[in-house]
């Protein structure tokens, strides 16, 4: 959100502004969204170059990195042709970038199957996991935060605050292992410890498999949302408009649900958006722990196998999701807080 050229010409009276600038002045919010989106696309473009250069150029030669000590001149040459390494750098990038849009991403180096055919079902499974845990986590966090704020400094508030301070710093795999111990092996056998899916089936075909991976992610993100919601709700409850409503004799339930809650949720939405970003990274380890067939597990496998085309695609997908959610979060935050709409 650096310079905003929109307002520059405004102070000069009598000059007719170019059409574009007039549009920006009339729609400051629209201009801001366009500006953010443009910045996001540029970032994504640079990201794609970074990923491409990093995986194909830096280690000398990707073909050599894959073959390692088994490299013979003939095998190197064959793989170089397969990976288009014999072409110029710009050509290579162009082939790869257009492949991203057409789905022609070549074959996996690990097993020779088409990359997109392997990544697509994983992407679906990961999306299901991310959105379920994000949705449940948001609701749980908002409810817990609101209750904690209503009973500020009560026992519920203290317990949830200590719990959230402790849980925020836990690695996901520790939470996952704790859940496996409690619900899937040592203490009880209520749920499956691994989420193996037969090929051709998706996560929703066996919802039981989703419970533990989703629960892990929910536990990891709830503390952030809880803290934000608690603080925002306390602020709202102590505000003048709530005081006014109290004086008017508005019943307590109405004050909480109609006056305080909507105003407290607005700032919380940004934190919820940030937690979706966090989930994009969090799935990597959680999917590995539960053998859940998503792109996170795909990435770990691809890194172990040095399967470069697969690594590239998954990292681009995750980065695109990251950039997109970032913009969405910004825009939603702008819509939710009117004073931020004023440019600069």
């Amino acid at each position: 959100m650096a310079a905003q050229p929109a307002v520059v010409g405004a102070s000069v009276p009598g000059t007719t502004l170019p059409r574009m600038d007039r549009w920006k002045m009339d729609h400051p919010l629209g201009a801001l969204v366009v500006w953010r989106a443009a910045l996001g696309i540029v970032t994504l473009f640079v990201v794609s170059i970074v990923i491409f250069l990093a995986t194909e150029v830096l280690p000398g030669n990707a073909a050599y990195a894959v073959l390692g000590h088994t490299a013979t001149p003939q095998r190197l040459h064959a793989l170089e042709i397969q990976l288009h390494l014999n072409r110029g750098l710009f050509d290579q990038y162009w082939v790869w970038l257009s492949g991203l849009f057409t789905g022609k991403l070549g074959n996996s180096l690990a097993n020779g199957d088409p990359v997109w055919g392997q990544v697509a079902p994983r992407l679906v499974n990961s999306a299901v996991l991310v959105f379920i845990s994000g949705f449940v986590g948001s609701i749980v966090g908002v409810v817990l935060g609101a209750i904690a704020a209503l009973r500020k400094d009560g026992w519920f508030d203290h317990i949830t605050s200590v719990f959230s301070l402790a849980v925020t710093s836990l690695p996901e795999f520790v939470v996952a292992i704790a859940l496996i111990i409690l619900f899937a092996t040592v203490v009880s056998h209520l749920l499956p410890a691994v989420s193996l899916l037969p090929p051709g089936t998706y996560a929703w075909d066996d919802p039981k498999l989703l419970i533990l991976p989703a629960a892990t992610l929910v536990i990891v993100i709830v503390p952030y949302i809880h803290r934000m919601m608690r603080a925002a709700m306390i602020e709202a409850l102590e505000s003048d408009y709530v005081e006014m409503a109290r004086l008017k004799g508005v019943p307590q339930w109405r004050i909480v649900l109609v006056h305080a809650l909507p105003n407290a949720i607005a700032p919380t939405i940004q934190v919820i958006g940030l937690n979706y970003l966090y989930l994009a990274g969090g799935i990597v380890i959680v999917e590995d722990v539960f053998n859940y067939p998503g792109i996170g597990q795909g990435l770990v496998n691809a890194v172990s196998d040095r399967d470069i085309p697969t690594i590239q695609v998954i990292v681009v997908i995750l980065a695109a999701f990251y950039v997109f959610m970032n913009i969405l979060t910004d825009v939603v935050a702008l819509l939710a807080t009117p004073r931020r709409r004023i440019v600069r």
Partner: protein
């Protein structure tokens, strides 16, 4: 709650500590209940990791018992997946993680702080280049970025340290940039500038000393996050090569035997958990002392790892 002994009233406690203000802050944080708990937890784990290698009852790589055997008087935590002594492996498996996390934190904070301070102080092109680089790095989830670097450069230990440290730099840079923007406008900085002091010297001797509080808090957050990230990479199998024990990978290799000998998983997982809870709780106490007010939730531990669009 905890029994606190008041210092003798005659002792002069008002003496001004001019040079090492940050040590005083760390000490004051350790005297709060929160800080004492955090420091105690982290200290316990550090003690286990540091003293461990010299008191392990067996060699951590020797096959001394049956795989996944239950704890006995001879093998207090039972056997692991290959029949090695779990207790010995636990005692030997922490110090590398601690050293690597500390190095990664130092690297990330130094690079990030240098970038953030220079961006804010030098403005213009330098600012633009640094902050756009930050944007690009922040377009990756940090674990994914670390995995990407490891996959390119190979799973060597010092590369893992650099990769983890590098993922921290952008967040540190953002925080310190906004703190510097505030300080560089103050009169004492302007006064020194007018004397013609070089920018690098202004940054070092006028700006940096005033950034100690955010720097301390940021270092604490990064340390916790380094441990989380490092342990995560170890768990995924990117760490020391196999026979050497480390807590993260112990969880991975022993979880198939959870129902026979859960201790081979529970103990390393608990140590990692205590360590991160400890560092995070202590950092929280330091933040309360150093910044004076309760931190806002959006600045809570680890959340500023996430790219906050409005922060730039």
């Amino acid at each position: 709650m905890a029994a606190t002994t008041l210092p003798a009233p005659t002792r002069r406690r008002t003496k001004k500590p001019p040079r090492h203000q940050w040590l005083a802050t760390l000490g004051a944080a350790a005297r709060t209940r929160r800080g004492a708990i955090g420091l105690g937890l982290a200290g316990f784990v550090v003690l286990v990791a540091v003293i461990g290698p010299s008191v392990e009852p067996y060699s951590s790589t020797a096959f001394v018992t049956t795989p996944f055997s239950q704890p006995t008087g001879q093998f207090l935590l039972g056997g692991d997946t290959l029949g090695r002594d779990v207790l010995s492996r636990v005692l030997d498996g922490g110090w590398v993680l601690l050293i690597m996390a500390a190095c990664a934190t130092a690297f990330g904070v130094i690079v990030g702080a240098t970038a953030g301070i220079s961006a804010a102080y030098l403005r213009g092109k330098v600012d633009g280049i640094i902050m756009r680089t930050v944007d690009v790095i922040l377009a990756f989830p940090s674990l994914v970025f670390a995995l990407l670097l490891v996959s390119i450069l190979g799973p060597k230990l010092w590369l893992i340290v650099l990769a983890v440290g590098f993922t921290h730099a952008p967040a540190v840079a953002r925080v310190l940039r906004s703190a510097t923007l505030d300080i560089s406008e103050r009169d004492y900085v302007k006064a020194v500038e007018l004397q013609g002091v070089k920018p690098s010297k202004v940054m070092r001797s006028e700006i940096l000393p005033n950034l100690i509080s955010p720097l301390m808090v940021e270092t604490g957050l990064r340390l916790t996050w380094s441990i989380v990230l490092m342990a995560g990479l170890n768990f995924l199998g990117f760490g020391q090569p196999p026979p050497t024990p480390n807590w993260g990978y112990m969880i991975q290799e022993n979880r198939i035997g959870l129902s026979s000998n859960p201790w081979a998983v529970i103990v390393p997982a608990a140590l990692i958990a205590l360590l991160t809870i400890g560092t995070n709780t202590y950092t929280d106490a330091v933040a309360r002392v150093a910044i004076g007010v309760e931190r806002k939730p959006e600045q809570a531990a680890l959340i500023d790892e996430l790219p906050i669009g409005q922060a730039a």
